[in-house]
């Protein structure tokens, strides 16, 4: 069964979640991934949104992180202050999804500006809750498309800290969460070794050289780098027929 890059990314992102995790979900691929995980290997996944909805059970695909479907049927709803304070800052969240315009070698993310802060080439939306998610959840899962300008050796602006300047960076800055655990792109799945991004699997039809060409530094490859397992028919059916029947994100 053929599949799109986005579908493969959704499936890989879902596999990063564990049954029983509390996950801070975002819109788009993360939302599809969390809902897919909940319907497959992680029925006890607890989905939390930045808007303060706790254990949401959306009946349809939300466009924003504060849609009414996330509130209806939730276990609880916190204020903005309560969600960020009692849940994120307190360290009650296991996993969180982040994206961004740039991700660097150490997993730092830029969603603020391209170019100079005071005279930007492109003004991006800014942190929102991304800095808090990157700082406080146990495992950050990053999803983004793989292009050279999106993977510079160093981001133009650190909105959300990964491992900052490398080994020991998070400890030095007193950050409680574990930092980036996975980076999932339309070319590869990457993890981190010694606080540096390492390619762990490459998607079918993509070469090692393609990945290197789309990355702004000499990226390391794991010793046992293999081909990314494609989505199963069951996973594709769930995504297409149940999670995103109107094809909003696919």
């Amino acid at each position: 069964m053929s599949y799109s890059d986005t579908e493969l990314m959704v499936v890989k992102a879902a596999q990063e979640l564990r049954d029983g995790d509390s996950v801070l979900v975002g819109i788009g691929i993360p939302n599809l991934a969390a809902n897919l995980a909940k319907r497959t290997h992680a029925p006890d996944l607890r989905m939390i949104y930045e808007s303060g909805t706790i254990d949401s059970d959306p009946s349809s695909l939300p466009l924003s992180i504060g849609d009414p479907v996330l509130a209806s049927g939730a276990a609880s709803i916190e204020s903005l202050h309560g969600g960020f304070n009692y849940y994120l800052q307190a360290g009650r969240i296991d996993a969180g999804f982040l994206g961004g315009a740039q991700v660097d070698k150490h997993g730092n993310i830029n969603s603020t500006v391209i170019g100079d802060y005071d005279d930007p080439d492109v003004r991006l939306p800014g942190s929102g809750g991304a800095c808090e998610i990157a700082s406080n959840v146990e495992r950050t899962i990053i999803t983004t498309s793989h292009q050279r300008q999106r993977f510079p050796e160093e981001v133009d602006f650190v909105t959300s800290p990964g491992f900052i300047d490398g080994e020991g960076g998070r400890e030095k800055h007193g950050l409680q969460g574990g930092g980036p655990a996975a980076v999932i792109t339309d070319m590869a799945v990457m993890g981190f070794q010694n606080e540096e991004m390492v390619v762990e699997s490459i998607h079918p039809g993509v070469d090692r050289e393609d990945v290197q060409e789309a990355t702004g530094w000499d990226i390391k490859f794991a010793g046992d780098v293999d081909e990314t397992e494609p989505p199963t028919e069951d996973e594709l059916r769930l995504i297409r027929d149940e999670l995103d029947p109107d094809g909003v994100y696919l």
Binding site: S64, I77, S127, C131, P161
Partner: protein, 303 residues
């Protein structure tokens, strides 16, 4: 004297040019009607504060009402950029604006400090990020009880807040359900508070369920009853979010000129929210109706 008034009257009495203004609401219950009234009254040089500027500040920026934006996430949720916001920053159109930038938690903690009168509040955010270098209101402090360094932010006390809820009594005791966002902190932190609700109800309705009360009468200066006052945002249990309007804004706001045309048609040419709602097609309003899903009543006991 009754606090119940029209949005036109509340805005013109409460807000002056140059004021700092917080229109509250995280996705839910955003006071769009108040924003449109501010545009119609042609305010200038406002400092507008919101965690998520959303379409409402994009419209106010395009209309030339804004001199400064204090914010934490400036995008069109689920869609993309705020184009008028970007035009102001990148090209100075229609006028340059100053920015003061936080994270969501950083900004809401400023409001919290303002609401409770603390000189600063500490938070475990910003370490390792480049934001503190760009904002002098984010500073590190050492714990008085140990070696731990954390960041701190000062109180934020806007001149005026506009907050919403589903229903209130005519004194201003307000019920909100669904996503509360920062409505409470904004109300408690601001000098003057305009409350806008979908409906004004008898005091006994509010007192039947006091746990649902977000803010009490003492903190409210003006009350406006305004059905559909949040469209294209939503009011849980009253009407859904008009996602098509959010998607459409991406087209509408492509250029400064196309944005002005939209403002002419939907803001300057309508007198108030009532006329705006009558201008929306009935099919569209019908699409936004929600089914009913009542919570189980609770028993307060008869004492």
């Amino acid at each position: 004297m009754s606090k119940v008034t029209s949005m036109k009257q509340a805005i013109s009495t409460a807000i002056s040019d140059g004021d700092s203004v917080y229109l509250a609401g995280f996705t839910h219950l955003i006071p769009f009607a108040a924003g449109h009234e501010i545009i119609r009254q042609e305010y200038t040089d406002l400092e507008v504060v919101r965690a998520t500027p959303d379409l409402i500040y994009d419209q106010m920026i395009a209309a030339g009402c804004v001199g400064k934006v204090t914010f934490s996430w400036a995008g069109n949720p689920g869609v993309g950029s705020l184009r008028a916001f970007r035009r102001a920053i990148e090209d100075g159109v229609p006028n340059p604006i100053e920015l003061e930038e936080y994270t969501h938690f950083g900004l809401v903690m400023r409001l919290y400090a303002g609401a409770v009168g603390l000189p600063f509040v500490p938070l475990k955010t910003f370490s390792g990020s480049d934001l503190p270098a760009e904002n002098d209101n984010i500073r590190s402090v050492q714990s008085p009880f140990g070696d731990e360094e954390v960041y701190a932010v000062p109180p934020l006390n806007p001149d005026v807040a506009v907050v919403r809820g589903q229903r209130a009594d005519e004194n201003g005791n307000v019920h909100l359900w669904g996503i509360p966002g920062e409505h409470k902190e904004a109300a408690l932190a601001s000098d003057t508070v305009i409350l806008s609700v979908e409906e004004i109800v008898d005091e006994s309705v509010i007192r039947s369920d006091p746990n649902r009360t977000l803010v009490t009468a003492d903190d409210i200066d003006y009350i406006v009853e305004e059905p559909y006052g949040s469209h294209p945002s939503y009011a849980q249990g009253y009407y859904d979010r008009d996602n098509d309007a959010y998607l459409n804004w991406d087209e509408v706001s492509q250029t400064h000129e196309s944005t002005q045309e939209w403002l002419d048609e939907w803001v300057y040419s309508v007198a108030d929210r009532d006329e705006y709602i009558r201008k929306l097609s009935s099919d569209r309003l019908l699409d936004l109706q929600t089914g009913n899903a009542y919570s189980e009543p609770i028993n307060m006991g008869e004492n």
